[in-house]
């Protein structure tokens, strides 16, 4: 995104946050988007989080082969890594691929088939009607998915660790309950909120300004996912730097 595009992005967001024409219709659209983002991504996030948690436990156990280090540390490291980094960031990158490409291609197709023009001719604020519900759904449902992901990642670590014999159930449980700092949850939720905004707004921008046909819609969709992923990683660093 160069500065011109960033300016257009800000102006589009400004238009998206104008007062809705009819709140009832917007609320319905928000709930539909929440269902799409939340329920629609739950299966994928669950599978990924559980396996990442399990693999993390095995890798930590592999690296910490020393009699001086208690095995309870495996649970602690897995817990903090899952909460602070893996659950928010990996979930966001996966969601950028799944939701971002869907948003970009949906809005892009509406652009090239003149459906957005039709909304504007009717006197409807097209950015507001199409983008605002997606952003609101994103910033509410991505944190919910991240919380579920944290839980499943830690649970996955328990399953992976105990099944492989890398750690006992008691050691793992002791590890995840020792020295827990609830502030890490706050940091993760701030990240999830920011990522939810990026995952929905960047693809919406890419789709909204598509020109051309099917090929350009596909290109915009790819661009949306790439820019979203880079933005997520950059914001991950900034938020971590600011809050930890």
């Amino acid at each position: 995104m160069n500065f011109t595009n960033f300016g257009k992005y800000i102006l589009l967001l400004k238009a998206a946050f104008r007062r809705p024409e009819k709140m009832k219709i917007y609320l319905k659209a928000i709930f539909q988007e929440m269902d799409f983002i939340g329920r629609g991504s739950l299966g994928l996030i669950s599978i990924i989080s559980t396996f990442i948690g399990a693999v993390m436990t095995l890798q930590i156990a592999f690296q910490l082969v020393s009699d001086l280090i208690p095995k309870t540390i495996i649970g602690s490291v897995n817990r903090d890594s899952s909460i602070l980094e893996l659950s928010p960031t990996i979930s966001a990158i996966v969601l950028a691929g799944k939701i971002g490409s869907a948003i970009s291609s949906e809005i892009g197709t509406m652009r090239v088939t003149e459906q957005i023009d039709a909304l504007e001719i009717m006197g409807i604020n097209a950015p507001g009607y199409l983008i605002l519900p997606k952003i609101l759904a994103g910033i509410t449902m991505v944190p919910v998915l991240v919380i579920i992901s944290m839980f499943l990642s830690i649970t996955g670590g328990y399953i992976g660790g105990t099944l492989s014999g890398a750690v006992t159930a008691a050691e793992y449980m002791q590890g995840i309950t020792t020295d827990f700092n609830p502030y890490t949850i706050t940091v993760a939720l701030v990240k999830a909120f920011v990522f939810g905004f990026i995952i929905t707004s960047v693809p919406a921008y890419e789709g909204f300004y598509v020109k051309g046909g099917a090929l350009e819609v596909a290109q915009a969709s790819t661009r949306a996912v790439v820019i979203s992923c880079i933005s997520i990683l950059a914001c991950d660093y900034i938020v971590t730097q600011l809050l930890l």
Binding site: K22, I25, Q115, D117, A118, I121, M122, N125
Partner: protein, 250 residues
């Protein structure tokens, strides 16, 4: 009535519209014709605010449109109905939901009232009972008719049609043309149709402006167009052998 004054529009170095003016009266079918790339659709988009002309003004019954901001334009846009070249129906909605959409957005009518209006509009375009179908289940002609039904749902004062016959067979084209003309006369709308379909020109062209290379080259009615001796217009209107033969017989 819609009046345009000295409309200029460029895309980069390409000046598409070079100072076009004209008056489009209500109750008659106004046509904008011209070859591909002559600026017809660009002119239409400048009139409805999808493009911003660099120079010139558009007046809707004396109300200046081009200088208004988004919120100020909404009141005029509520009075506009538009039929798009590709119909532009919302894919995710049924026929009924498509037509009801502007009513949901801008009126506080009860659902039964809105449904009555939807059924009236569908009946008007001869598509009774097609409420539950999705756009993907409709033929090209049916999509255009649903597009017209959606355009008239809010009782528009101004009706714009962008290439209403494109992709349709001649018989369906005539049905769409007649529908546009009937609605124009019935509701006394100011109707502007962008077309390069000669059947439409001869059939419903009460007032026609011919664009050539971004300029208004000629204006008149369908009766006058056959008698014109302007070379560019004759080359466009009577391009086919059939039309040439028809002209020679006149």
């Amino acid at each position: 009535m819609i009046e345009i004054k000295d409309i200029h529009k460029s895309f980069g170095d390409n000046e598409v519209l070079k100072g076009i003016s004209g008056k489009f009266q209500e109750g008659v079918t106004n046509l904008i014709i011209g070859g591909s790339g002559s600026g017809k659709t660009t002119l239409l988009k400048c009139m409805i605010g999808l493009h911003h002309p660099e120079q010139g003004h558009v007046y809707y019954d004396g109300r200046e449109f081009t200088q208004l901001n988004f919120e100020e334009r909404i009141e005029i846009r509520k009075e506009i109905g538009m039929l798009f070249q590709g119909s532009a129906l919302f894919d995710s909605m049924t026929v009924e939901e498509n037509i009801m959409f502007p009513l949901n957005m801008f009126t506080d009518q009860a659902r039964s009232e809105k449904l009555d209006r939807v059924n009236f509009c569908l009946e008007r375009v001869n598509l009774e009972g097609k409420n539950a179908l999705y756009p993907a289940e409709l033929s090209g002609g049916m999509k255009k008719r649903v597009g017209i039904a959606r355009a008239i749902a809010m009782n528009p004062k101004y009706l714009f049609c962008d290439e209403p016959n494109s992709g349709l067979d001649p018989k369906t084209s005539i049905v769409i043309d007649e529908l546009i003309k009937e609605i124009t006369e019935e509701y006394n709308t100011t109707t502007i149709v962008v077309t390069h379909d000669m059947n439409s020109v001869m059939g419903i062209g009460d007032y026609i402006i011919f664009l050539h290379e971004g300029k208004k080259f000629w204006e008149g009615s369908n009766k006058e167009i056959a008698k014109t001796d302007i070379q560019e217009l004759n080359d466009f209107v009577f391009a086919s052998r059939f039309m040439k033969a028809a002209k020679d017989k006149l």
